[in-house]
Every structure is written in C-alpha cells, then in structure tokens.
Symmetry: C2
Subunit: 411 residues, 2 copies
Amino acid sequence: MALVVQKFGGTSVGSIERIRSVARRCLAAQRRGDDVVVIVSAMSGETNRLLGLAHQLTTVPDAREMDALAATGEQVAAALTALAIQAEGGRARSLLGHQVRIRTDGAFTKARIQAIDGTKIASTVAAGEIAVVAGFQGVSESGDITTLGRGGSDTSAVAIAAAIGADACEIYTDVDGVYTTDPNVCPSATKIDRISFEEMLELASLGAKVLQIRSVEIAMKYGVPIHVRSSFSDAEGTWVTAEDQSLERVVVAGVAYDKSEARVAVIGLTDTPSTAADLFGAIADKNIAVDMIIQGASRGAQDETDITFTIARSDLDRAKPEIEAIARERLGAREVRYDSAIAKVSIVGLGMRSHAGVAAKMFRLLADEGIPIQAISTSEIKISCLVAVKYTELAVRALHDGFGLGERPKT
Amino acid sequence: MALVVQKFGGTSVGSIERIRSVARRCLAAQRRGDDVVVIVSAMSGETNRLLGLAHQLTTVPDAREMDALAATGEQVAAALTALAIQAEGGRARSLLGHQVRIRTDGAFTKARIQAIDGTKIASTVAAGEIAVVAGFQGVSESGDITTLGRGGSDTSAVAIAAAIGADACEIYTDVDGVYTTDPNVCPSATKIDRISFEEMLELASLGAKVLQIRSVEIAMKYGVPIHVRSSFSDAEGTWVTAEDQSLERVVVAGVAYDKSEARVAVIGLTDTPSTAADLFGAIADKNIAVDMIIQGASRGAQDETDITFTIARSDLDRAKPEIEAIARERLGAREVRYDSAIAKVSIVGLGMRSHAGVAAKMFRLLADEGIPIQAISTSEIKISCLVAVKYTELAVRALHDGFGLGERPKT
C-alpha cells in the first residue's frame, strides 16, 4: 500500500468520457490498496476560452482578475472528476487551492508555492476518499486566488506529493514517457525507462516539453519520484528519480534541440576585464534574457575580442536597437551580426561526468555529417552546439544514433 | 453620495458586450458620487451548461460537488465584470463568497446565509474601487463552497446590502419593474412605482417572478430598500420599501395567478377535533407540501366534514397513493377527488386591511364573468380564489381592471 499522487493534464480530462476513464484509473489504484490523491488541469481548451473572453474586454488585463477567471477551469475539472469517481461507485471530494491552503506569493499569473498544508488532503484520504485537487491554483496570504502559470499543474502535483510525503507522483500525459529525443525528428527514438532529476532538468530546459521544469526542481529538492506515463494505457512510463549509484549509467541519456533562439555575435570589442560585465549588465537592464554566452580568447596584440550569445528569437526585434546602442555606441564594437536561422542541439547525460571524450565524439559525429558548429557551450552533464537551423534534424539523428540511443537503453 | 448595491442577473451579463454596459453603468453611478458594490450572476446559459456536464456523469450528483461546479459561473462573471470596469478606465476588484466570507449553513445547493463579514467589501469601496461580488455563492463553516439555490444572487445582493448598510439595493433585470399583473395575460398591466415589502412578498410567492422571495424577506427584516429596474434603460423601476403611512394607499396593488397547483378534495370525513391534524400530519410525514387548506363547517347531524387543499401539481402522481391511504383507509373518508385543471387567482394589497368589501367585490367581479369559485382563502393582505384553469386569464383581467389597476396607480 502506497500513497500516490496522480496528475492528469487537460487532454486527459478533455471530455466527459475522458474524465470517466480518469475516474476508473483512480479507483483501480485505490482498489489495489493505494491511497490516492488526484490533481487535475482544466479541460483542454477551457483556459484559452476563458482568457479569450478577457481579451475581448482588454488587451492589458489585470493579473489578479485573470487568475480568478482562469482558476475556474481547474475548479470545474476537479468537481467533475469527483462526480465521476462517485458515479463509478467510489468516494471522492474536490479540494481547491484555498481549501487545501496551497499558499503562494502574490505574483499573479506566475505565483510560486510557499507552503502547502497537507492536513485537509490527509484527512480526506484517511477517510477513504479520493482527494481531487484543482491544479494550477493557490491562494495568497491576503486570500486572493493565484495561478502558477502555464503547466503549473505539474508543479501543484509534485509540491503536493512532497507536502504529504507521497511515495510517487504519477504525471499522466498524452505520450507514454520521456523519449531519448523527439520521435518526430528521429524515428529510432526510444522511451527512457529511468532518468535522473538532473538529466530531466537539462532535457526539460532544452525543449523536452513533457514535464514543467519547476516541477522537476521541486521533485529533486524533496526527493519525490515522478512517473511520467500515458493516460491511455497501463504501460510503465518513465521514472524520474534521484541518481542511482548502483546502476550502470548510460553516458548520454537524451538529445534535445531548440529552434527558438537567435544568435548575436558582437565583433571587435576592446578587451578589458569589464567588457562582458558591461555588455550583459546593460542587456539585462533592458530585460532581455540571454541563454548561451561564448567568449573566445582575445586576439593577441589587437586587444580585441568577440562575444557570441543567444537570446529568444521572439525578443530579437525589440532587442536589436538596444544591443546596437550598447555594443557599438557604448562599448565601441566594430560590428554586430544577427542570425535567427540557428538551432541549439544538446546531449545530456550524467555519465559524461566520468567519461572522457564525449564532447570530442559529439563534434566528430556532427563533422562526419558536414555540419559546421557555430558555437559550443558545456555544463557538467550537457554539451550544446549551435548549428544552422537547416541541419537540426540531421544533427539530432546523428547524435542520437551515434551515442547508441536508438537501441533500447540499459538503465 | 450614497452606498449602492447593484445586482445584475444572468441576462444582463450574458455576453461580453452586455458586461461592458454593466461596467459603464457601475462607473456612471460612481461618477455621480456613489460608492458602488456590484453583485453578478453567472452569464446566462452558463449554469445550465455546467449542470449539464455533471448530469452526463450521474443522475444523482453529490450536492457538495455540484456547488463547487456551479459556483464557477459567478466567479467567471465577477472577474470579467471587474476586468470590464478596468477596461473602461475604472478601478474594480472581484470578490468571491469565501473571500467576502458570506457564511452559510452546510445545506449544499440551497444554503442559507448565516453571516456576512462586510469588512472586505468596505475596505475595497473605501479605497475607491468598485467591489464586484460573485452572487449565489457562500462558504460553509468547514470551508466548503455552497450555493444559495436558483435565483440566489438576489438574496446575495440584499443580504450584502444589509450587511454593509447600503442605502439601496438595485436589482437590474430584463423587465422595467414589477407589474400590477402579468402583461402577457392583461395588456393593461402597468408598472408599479412603489410597493411595500409585504405586498411584494405575497406577489412573489404567488408567482410574480421578478424577485426571489427570500431576498424580499431579508430586505424587509433589515429595512433595505430594493429598486427593481431594467438593465437596458435608465428609467426608474419599482421601489420595494417599508410601508409608508403618509401615502394614500391603493387598496389592491396587484393581481397574481398560479397554474402550478392541483386541488384535492377529501369528502365525507368523520368530523372529530383531530381530523385536520391527523390528515395533514400524515401528509407532511410523506414530505408533500400543502398550500391552500379550506375546511367548511361540518354538516350537522352526520358529523361529517369535507376538506379541500392544494398541492404542487408536480407532486400529484407521487402523492395520490399516499393521500388515498391516509384519507380513505386511516381516516375513513368516503371519497377523494383530484383536479389538476385549476388555477389560483389572487389579489394583494395592504389597503384591504382597512377597506371593507374588497373580498365581496372580488367575488362579484368573478361572478359577473360567469366564473365559478371552487375555493377561497384569505390572509390579511391577500385574497385567493381557485377557479378552473381555463378561466385564468379572464379572471386576471376582470380583477385587474375591476380594481382600477389598468389606470396608472397612485402611490
């Protein structure tokens, strides 16, 4: 007997028929002897419908009212799910953010959870009922309804699992787990059976959209095992857990790509100790988020340096005049080049910490396909390369199969 | 400068465009110098949509979950109305039942308000904001969301007006006030400018559907003047207030009718002191609600009596075997007759307390049209007659015009 949190996304509760099968799945777990807490998102389409109503009224809606509005989506889904469980002969009770007391800060539309009172969920479960908690929502200290931002239901689920000491947090979704890479790009992609929190964090932040990155952070912090699995089957999905020393570790766990960035190359900067600080300090002041930063050695006698960085492509138009002003006028750069036809391709794996030559192998695999590398960035468990966007799929397939991910990975 | 509660029903907030005009109306009142508290119902159709979803899952839904589900309708309307006020340049804040703390008992789907904490509304208004309160909903002592039953938003509005000491409670609706009778039945029906709480109570309970009867009871108890008016015009509607001794009182304020009842005549009962108590005690035990009760004098030597009463027509099929068992088998009645083709026609007016002959005039007006009276029941300010249902409209018109209501009533 275990205490299990099950989270169902908008697609999984997207119709009355689907809600009914969610109810059956919860009851099956209860019948196996588990205590069950369910977290639901809004029925798919509902959040957009609600926000659409608001946007008919105003283009700059008040964040507090948007949260009060959007939170109804999860409230409806929670009540319907509780009714569905009852209709299937079970006992259930819906609980809202302010009823559980999922306490957040007051940052409407992107609130962060500060504390969760697990007593109401615990007493519900202790009474033999399934607790159906509305995801995505919380309550501020002043009693205002807040929401955690898009995808916040994953965060709700993991945070609740941590608060009540659940044995596992199951994230039900419309895919059957986390894949070694995007199956649409690489047909040989395989489902990962087990992956560490650290690897999942890198994969999530690199574009694998299965799990919200914040939920993985919380799971890692509190040691909550996550099980990502399909809401349409009973098959095992992917377990995201703490690093397991006893297992033979794969070197590379997955390959990710991201086409949402643009490259900015600032050429011919005078190389002083404060050049990078001046440049990125000024860019940060303009509220432009920077991802990769690469600076090579300065070019000897000329005391000149080049700095390359990436920003979100959607920020490029807004950022260009700011960057020109900073780089050319204030820092005297000779030239600034922009390229939005780029992609970031990354390999992620805990194993690369103890395996030499992983980077070299990555570069070789790309070179063998004739793909020029425009920039490189590495962390302890990740290596990212910028390539021309047209090479994205070719690069992903070359890396994926070159690191042996096409075969069923051993975990 | 006044403190005004404005309540808008589902039709008045039935679309984004209508919500916008509600916002303009609230702001106009604020610009005139009033402090404004707005109560909104769910957008028309929304409550039925939500209940429809639940009924796809179960025919006997759990009342607690139905309330959590239905309350979202008003939450959406409140947030959108606050956004609309902001979009028009005003300042507004939505408040839910649990945020105001509209404390109710735990009778889900038909909860009764026990206490309202006016401080949150007061501080909102004191800050120059319009408080937009979700109607229809409250919160139980244990923190569960409750609803007040259909039409409960009127009750919310009047109870909030009482709690915060508002100068008036304006009920915006799709008609321009309370009429002397149903204009669909009697073209000469006129809008009533001013009517007492007592008269409004009798008219509401007799079938005039403009105001929820519970809201009138609360308004009378706390002396909150109600102004029923159209959300589509600025014309004065009907004021429902405490009886005003200084005004020349009309004898009859309005004519109501009700086609929803059925008549039951129990013939040939042995007349003992406990006959009526035995009969109606047993009927009440079967949870059958009785409206009119008429018992004539017993017929001399035979020690026999007849008792006529009315019940809701929708209860008739269920009630028949129960009534047979009680009346014939237990009380030895000779015969029970049922008639569902009847209507109750009533005249209401404070003035009849001090005017003799009103009842006689009513019976004469019906007799002049050849309408047989099947039963009569009177209270201090109301006289009701049962007639065959086919005479309903004829009776209403005869009484309405016979008591001079077709002319503009003097108040």
